[in-house]
């Protein structure tokens, strides 16, 4: 038989673990040319209370998606104001991948994102507003329905409304009924809005 064992736990664990990993070193390692080192730095920085600043500023310039993912996981775990602000900035980034990654991270931080929700829903860029509605999906906040109703009543952009209707089907109550009917009337030539609004109305009526 050719099964072997490494000489017990020691050889599994001999590595840089012995080096002191202080926060300053870790932040510097975010610029290391080796992606493995950068991933480990990003991972270990969750234990540094002020790490969000360094992580956020590194995020936009990081080319390796595997490092970006670890940075986003750490930012999600940290979940402080700086982290959230950094994620919000990514929403208007040119990189589709980074944008989607940021949305996913923000979905994990509903309570932290809630205070800035209004601002996001009023952003001049309709894409950001669509993302904001996407994030609402995971928000357990008493105002979610009210926000969605406001969107379908007032947002001038068809796709922002369409995204909001999707969600109203899930969280909508009786209060959403009239606004949904008005939306249907406003977009009477838009089959998708008719379909989605009818679906939402059906679910609401069943409750």
């Amino acid at each position: 038989m050719a099964f072997i064992k490494t000489h017990s736990a020691q050889s599994i664990s001999e590595d840089e673990r012995k080096q002191p990993r202080n926060c300053e070193n870790l932040e510097a390692e975010l610029d290391n040319p080796n992606p493995t080192t950068r991933r480990w730095a990003a991972r270990d920085l969750v234990d540094c209370p002020k790490a969000s600043v360094a992580l956020v500023s590194h995020l936009e310039q990081e080319e390796d998606v595997s490092v970006r993912e670890v940075i986003l996981t750490s930012l999600t775990t940290l979940g402080d104001e700086v982290a959230v602000a950094g994620l919000v900035n990514c929403l208007s980034s040119e990189g589709v991948a980074l944008r989607n990654e940021a949305i996913e991270a923000m979905k994990q931080l509903p309570d932290e994102v809630a205070p800035i929700m209004r601002k996001l829903l009023a952003d001049a860029n309709p894409d950001v507003r669509i993302f904001a509605v996407n994030i609402l999906e995971s928000l357990r906040h008493p105002d979610v329905e009210a926000w969605l109703i406001e969107v379908i009543e007032n947002d001038p952009h068809l796709n922002v409304c369409a995204t909001a209707v999707d969600l109203l089907g899930e969280v909508g109550s009786f209060a959403a009924k009239e606004p949904l009917l008005r939306l249907k009337a406003r977009y009477f030539e838009e089959p998708y809005i008719q379909f989605a609004a009818d679906l939402a109305l059906k679910i609401i009526n069943e409750d």
């Binding site: 038989m1 050719a2 099964f3 072997i4 064992k5 490494t6 017990s8 736990a9 599994i12 664990s13 001999e14 590595d15 673990r17 080796n34 992606p35 493995t36 991933r39 480990w40 991972r43 270990d44 390796d64 998606v65 595997s66 993912e69 670890v70 996981t73 999600t76 775990t77 994990q108």
Partner: protein
């Protein structure tokens, strides 16, 4: 202790704490399961109240009580040749692929986490011996880990119930086990073939030393994790794998909902995820 002594708020606080430590998230519907085990530990440690127990749990430097509690809270259900198609995939597809690419003579390394009581890593060893000719030419290293120290003890011992071995073919059972009363003792050679270690997958300090694996099995653990911990686990495995290394998940766990870092590879027996060959 009366059941009512753990309040809703206590439960919430404990849930959050335990999640942070282990990545395991209990749904509110698990309240009864959690309360019962907490109460058991509160009584056994002679704590006055949930509060005093919880304080000890959090601040005890040795982490001993947390380990006791973790051992109680984990679901260890497992058996030999569970989801056998993946072992077939290992010997018929993954290992040939790995060997073909391999440029050095170093051992092929396999990590099975979580091990639970050892049925999975031992199944892998049995499969290699029975169904992989390459075993004559290559050194193989199997390391298997779990967070639960009590279950690791069981795994090292290798004593199994009839139920646990019921899916093993008769000849395999006869070849590698001896019957002891109504139980089955796995043979010494197989016990020697697997190295068992304690690892909390949610703890980077634990997983950091685990590197350069060709194949990782992580089956029926991520289902107990929440989204962020799952994603973090996938990222941990990324650093534990060699470029081109494979990861096999349980049949109800799909990487498509967890992480985008891996390539989807289809083999005749199963879908497996691969760290890109060009990854660093």
């Amino acid at each position: 202790m009366p059941a009512s002594s753990i309040s809703e708020l206590d439960f919430e606080k404990f849930r959050e704490f335990f999640y942070r430590k282990t990545g395991i998230q209990f749904e509110p519907s698990k309240r009864y399961f959690v309360d019962k085990r907490l109460e058991e530990r509160i009584e056994l440690t002679g704590s006055e109240t949930f509060r005093s127990y919880f304080t000890m749990l959090r601040f005890e430097a040795s982490g001993e009580e947390l380990q006791h509690l973790t051992n109680l809270m984990t679901v260890n259900e497992t058996y030999f040749f569970r989801e056998e198609y993946q072992f077939q995939c290992l010997v018929n597809s993954l290992l040939p692929d790995i060997v073909q690419r391999k440029k050095d003579g170093n051992p092929i390394r396999i990590w099975a986490i979580p091990s639970s009581s050892g049925e999975e890593p031992y199944s892998i060893a049995i499969y290699l011996l029975e169904y992989w000719a390459g075993i004559n030419n290559w050194d193989i290293e199997i390391i298997s880990s779990d967070i639960d120290t009590q279950i690791l003890g069981q795994a090292r011992k290798g004593r199994y119930s009839a139920r646990s071995v019921q899916h093993l073919p008769e000849n395999v059972l006869r070849k590698y086990f001896t019957r002891v009363a109504d139980e089955y003792q796995i043979c010494e050679d197989l016990r020697e073939a697997v190295e068992f270690t304690r690892v909390n997958l949610a703890e980077p300090a634990d997983t950091r030393p685990y590197r350069n694996f060709d194949v990782i099995f992580c089956r029926n653990l991520l289902i107990y994790f929440d989204d962020v911990s799952r994603k973090a686990a996938a990222e941990t495995f990324y650093d534990a794998l060699k470029p081109g290394g494979f990861i096999c998940l349980g049949h109800s766990e799909s990487m498509s909902r967890i992480s985008s870092l891996y390539k989807v590879r289809k083999f005749p027996e199963a879908i497996v995820y691969q760290k890109p060959l060009e990854a660093r």
